[in-house]
């Protein structure tokens, strides 16, 4: 069995164990079904409600992905600007922290007034949730460069832009990518929270609506089914981003190499 196959097996086994634990706990403590249903009940409901939940997932995922792109684009741009000029840093950081700290429900009304399309408003709200970790990591990464490498650039008269493009950005990549990985899941939860706050229902209803609806109707199994879908989407997104991160860092020879090592004896 190859290492990768073994890895996948282990991963699946752990997941199965977690689900078993969940079912076991629910049964052992006789947790009522309308509080926390067991995974079997949730799975059954997931199957039953698939025609409602999957389109909702698609809507939310679409919002989240768009928001991720917007958030990463904005955060990296702002991070670059903040590092390029102290003046800009002092302007950008307070605004960024403020936007991060203010809950979506409080900004949603303003956004809804000024943005005609609800879909656009949702993307904006979700992006607001996702962008700060990327910004923070980008700034940290851009600032943590090797002083000798920087000397090299100074020596040959590099402009700030050249230093940025050929030194700071590649050197900051591990930080930026770690931030993007966090932003991926945040964009997803941001999309849901935005849906809560901005409230769409009907045919373009996202998962948030299904979660709320199930909550009000006390169809908790369905609510958990929606949450499970959300979690699955989150895991998938996280896994993809992590994989992409690894590939990119390896390509750029920035990965912390794991070399083949001898076993203890031999």
């Amino acid at each position: 069995m190859s290492g990768r196959a073994a890895d996948r097996l282990l991963r699946t086994a752990v997941l199965a164990a977690l689900l078993l634990l969940w079912e076991g706990l629910v049964r052992l403590y006789e947790v009522p079904h309308w509080l926390v249903p067991g995974p079997l009940a949730v799975a059954a409901e997931l199957w039953r409600a698939r025609e409602v939940l999957l389109p909702a997932l698609a809507v939310t995922l679409g919002t989240a992905l768009l928001a991720l792109v917007v958030a990463v684009g904005a955060a990296v741009t702002l991070g670059v600007l903040a590092v390029l000029s102290r003046l800009l840093e002092y302007a950008i950081l307070p605004v960024a922290v403020t936007l991060q700290v203010v809950p979506v429900v409080a900004v949603a009304p303003v956004i809804l007034v000024y943005v005609e399309r609800v879909e656009t408003a949702l993307v904006l709200c979700a992006a607001l949730v996702a962008f700060f970790p990327v910004l923070a990591n980008t700034i940290t990464g851009l600032e943590r460069i090797d002083p000798e490498q920087r000397d090299l650039f100074r020596l040959y008269g590099a402009s700030r832009w050249q230093e940025l493009l050929w030194l700071r950005l590649p050197a900051a990549l591990p930080y930026i990518l770690a931030g993007i990985r966090v932003a991926g899941t945040l964009a997803l939860v941001g999309a849901v929270v935005a849906e809560f706050a901005a409230g769409t229902a009907g045919e373009q209803a996202g998962l948030a609506f299904r979660i709320l609806e199930s909550g009000w109707r006390l169809r908790i199994a369905r609510m958990y089914a929606a949450l499970v879908l959300l979690a699955a989407a989150g895991l998938l997104l996280h896994g993809l981003l992590r994989q992409g991160e690894r590939l990119m860092l390896r390509r750029l020879h920035l990965a912390a190499r794991e070399e083949a090592r001898p076993s203890s004896s031999t």
């Binding site: 009522p32 309308w34 809804l112 007034v113 609800v118 409230g199 009907g202 709320l212 009000w216």
Partner: protein, 315 residues
Amino acid sequence: ERLVFGLNWVAEAEYGGFYQALAKGIYRRYGLEVEIRQGGPQVPHAQLLAAGRLDLGLADNMLLSYNFVAERVPVVAIAAFFQKPPQALLAHPDAGVRSCEDLKGKTILVATEDRLSWWQWLRHRYGLSDSQLRPYTFDPAPFLADPLNVVMQAYVTAEPYVVRKVGGFEPVVLMLADAGYDSYANILEVRREVLEERRDAVQRFVDASIEGWYDYLYGDPTPAHGLIERANPEMTDDLLAFSRSKLLEYGIVDSGDALELGIGAMTDARWRSFYEDAVRYGVLEPGLPWQEAYTLEFVNRGHGLDLKRRLREGR
């Protein structure tokens, strides 16, 4: 005897009767030590009630009561403190909206939650469409930003006040009750377990609350308002007085069956007809044992009618 009673929203005049009962020691007189817990827009009120974090709670409308049955959650409705739902639509006087017939073509701000309840009634009755909807976040700003084209959902007891104060105009009010949405509101819900084990205490709570409501509506509301303002400092005397006057004006608490049977009154006919409407509009599934959603054994006894008479005469 201790009872934890959860509100489904933050403290306001809509709960005036309960606060009055608390403030004037009516509960204590009935041998009860009642703790009122506020709710809020995202507070999982129903689940807290079902899980036993609360002994008693309030349902916003009858749909929730039916949902308890549909999902086999052991919670029952025992009294309806609002005979009419206080929900309404607000329009600018120049928007040309005089009744629900005029809503076609208007943009309507409706909260997500309400799209599953009264919006279905409205939509079916008046041939409206989902495409008219925009989200309502309980913030009237989008309405005020474009009052000639936008119609906003509201609690008749609160938002008209805000609109008048901030927007500077007296809005047209369309009561949803008049549009055929005849749900009870502020429905007192209790877990079956509590009902069975502490039947007597529950009855005393209902009776004391009814007295509280009569006292609040027809007596001096100051004690309740004091408590409400303490619990929710954003409340003002002004607003509370406004809300209370609307409760009276629209007969939200004391009208219809309640005039005969006392506050809290409920009837089988109303529960049946609402359920049938809900099925017709696709909000609930047919075939539900809907009678299990409630019990009439605690109300309809004319409790407090004499108190009401005394209060009115005293004035």
